[in-house]
Symmetry: C2
DNA sequence: TGAACATTTTGCGCGACGCGCAGCGTTTGT
DNA sequence: ACAAACGCTGCGCGTCGCGCAAAATGTTCA
C-alpha cells in the first residue's frame, strides 16, 4: 500500500472520528460539514469525496466494525459447531463494546446512543446492521459449503443474529445500572439457538 | 373522525402514492418534491408538513404496511402456538405481496425494487423493518403475558422474524421465474423455528 | 346562521447540503 | 526526470428542510 492510499485511509478515519466526536459534543444539527472538514484540515468539498453526507460520516466507525464480524466468523476453526462459532465471533468483535482504539469509551457509547436516537441517523445505522447481516450470511455460506439445507438459511440466520446483536446492543446502551454486554449478547443468541 | 382528519389522511395518502409512482416512472433523482406536490395539488411547502423528505414519502406505504403486522399477530386466537400465530400473521399481511388497494401490482413491485436498491432510500426502508420488529415485539410480549422466559425474547424474536421477512421479500423481488412469496416466507420462518 | 376559535395551507426566505466541473498540486511508475 | 494517474480544492448550481407569519379552511357554540 503506497503513501497515497495510507493518506486516504488516514483522512477518512480522521473525518469519521471527528464527525462522531463533534456530534456527541454539540448534538447532530449543531455540527456542520464545514466544521468537521475544518477540524481535520481539509476543504468541505473534500469531505464529500469521502462521505455522502454528515450521517454517513458519523456512522462510518460503526459500519466498519459491523463489516468485520464476517471475518471474525471466518477466523473460527472449521470443526466448531456453527452456533458456537457465531457466538464467539460476535463476542470477539462486540464483547467489550467494540470501542475503536483511538476513541474514549465515553464518546463511543454516547455516540452510539446518539446514532440510535437521532432519526436522521437511524437509517444509516440500520445499514450497518444490514452490513452485518450480509457479512455473516457470506461467511455462513462459506462455512456450510455444500451442506446447506436451504439456500435461504445463510441470509435468514445472518439476519437473525444481526438483529439479536442489535437488541442486545440497544438494551446495553441504556442499562442502568450498567450490565455486561457480553452477557446480553450470549443471552440473545441463546434465545435464537433455542428458538 | 371529522372532515378535517379525513382530508389530511387523503392528502397524505395521495402524496405517498404519487411519490412512489413518480419515482418508479422517472427514477429517484429525476423526481422533485415540487413535482409530487404539484401532481397532488398542494404547495411544496405542504409536502414537508407531511413528510420529512422525498425518501420518507416514497417509503411511507411500505412503512405503513409493516406497522400493521403487529395488529395481525394480535388478531390471532390466543390459544394458537406462537410460531403458528407468527406465520399466519405474516402471511396474512405479506402473503400476496401486500399490495395497497389503489396501486397497480407492477408499480408496487417495481417500487419495492427501487426502494431496496437506491442507497438514499435503503435507510428509510430499513426503518420499516425496524417498525415491524417493534410491532411484533410488542404483540409477542402481550401474547406471552407473564410467561416470558427472558425479557429479551420478544425483541429478539421480533427482530428475527422481521429479518426473515426481509430476506424472503428480497429473494422474491428478484426471483426469475417468479416464485410464490408465501412459500418463501414459510420457508424462511421454518428455518428460524428449527433454528 | 354566523361569529369566534382552532388548525391547516401557503408564500417567503435562509442556511445547509450534494455534487459536477475544471484547474492545480502531489504521488507513482518507468 | 518525466509523463500519466490521482487526489484536493474552489466555484457554482439546483435542491432541500424548515421557521415564520399571514391567509384559507374546518369546527364549535350561542
Amino acid at each position: 500500500m503506497g503513501l497515497r492510499e495510507r493518506k486516504k485511509q488516514a483522512t477518512r478515519h480522521a473525518l469519521a472520528l471527528t464527525a462522531l466526536r463533534l456530534a456527541v459534543e454539540r448534538g447532530y444539527d449543531r455540527v456542520l460539514v464545514e466544521d468537521i472538514a475544518a477540524e481535520v484540515g481539509v476543504s468541505p468539498r473534500t469531505f464529500n469525496n469521502y462521505f455522502g453526507g454528515k450521517a454517513e460520516a458519523i456512522c462510518a466507525l460503526a459500519v466498519h466494525r459491523s463489516e468485520r464480524i464476517g471475518d471474525a466468523l471466518r477466523a473460527r476453526p472449521a470443526g466448531e459447531p456453527l452456533w458456537t462459532a457465531l457466538r464467539e465471533a460476535v463476542l470477539s468483535e462486540l464483547g467489550a463494546g467494540g470501542v475503536p482504539a483511538d476513541l474514549p469509551d465515553r464518546v463511543w457509547i454516547e455516540g452510539l446512543r446518539l446514532v440510535v436516537t437521532t432519526p436522521a441517523m437511524q437509517g444509516e445505522y440500520l445499514r450497518a446492521q444490514a452490513a452485518t447481516q450480509e457479512a455473516l450470511a457470506a461467511a455462513i455460506r462459506e462455512r456450510l459449503g455444500d451442506a446447506v439445507p436451504d439456500d435461504l438459511l445463510p441470509e435468514v440466520l445472518g439476519g437473525a443474529v444481526a438483529a439479536a446483536c442489535g437488541v442486545a446492543m440497544r438494551r446495553w446502551l441504556w442499562s442502568d445500572p450498567p450490565v455486561d454486554l457480553g452477557d446480553l449478547l450470549r443471552r440473545a443468541l441463546l434465545l435464537l439457538e433455542r428458538s
